[in-house]
Amino acid sequence: SQTIHQWPATLVQPVGSPLSLECTVEGTSNPNLYWYRQAAGRGLQLLFYSVGIGQISSEVPQNLSASRPQDRQFILSSKKLLLSDSGFYLCAWDQVALAKNIQYFGAGTRLSVL
């Protein structure tokens, strides 16, 4: 069966510090991978998606970047965090051949920038 791991669960970082959130998927190959952010009253906002290694598409301009160094690894980064980067970050995967149109989410990371 497929599983998705996301860590850390919570993170408190000072303004201006770097960020690295990691997400890995097990039990499948060549998944589509996604980073979302949940903000109050804004639902789930898609930040980045990737259809393959090294292929990253950004949905909104922001202070964050994403990378996919391996097939089942997706990393969300920032060189210098802003207060506005605080939020709940979710990684998700899907695969057309496996489960049509359904995305599977990790447990999320609560990021507080102080």
Binding site: R42, G43, Q45, K100, N101, Q103, F105, A107, R110
Partner: protein, 113 residues
């Protein structure tokens, strides 16, 4: 531009009664729709979906209705249980290529025992 809207941020229902969560969308090209359930500090989990070729899909206590002419879908939970208390997100997507879906803002359901 919020293409998928859930106009009710919260809903309270008595245990055993019906919960109806609503969702509206603006893009007529969306051809599939999903509902996700989310507990605090957890990721959303898939609940039920419906293709645009259908107007109803049922799975146990959960039924999703789609009205394409009104660009409206709803999730019915019957009977509601305290464990159903969560935030519910509707989502809409376009088939083909990678499966980008657009999520609504969520409705927080509270089922009162």
């Amino acid at each position: 531009d919020q293409q998928v809207k859930q106009n009710s941020p919260s809903l309270s229902v008595q245990e055993g009664r019906i919960s109806i969560l609503n969702c509206d969308y603006t893009n007529s090209m969306f051809d599939y729709f999903l509902w996700y359930k989310k507990y605090p500090a957890e990721g959303p989990t898939f609940l039920i979906s419906i293709s645009s070729i259908k107007d109803k899909n049922e799975d146990g206590r959960f039924t999703v209705f789609l009205n394409k002419s009104a660009k409206h879908l709803s999730l019915h939970i019957v009977p509601s249980q305290p464990g159903d208390s969560a935030v519910y997100f509707c989502a809409a997507g376009l088939s083909g290529g990678y499966q980008k879906v657009t999520f609504g803002t969520g409705t927080k359901l509270q089922v009162i025992p």
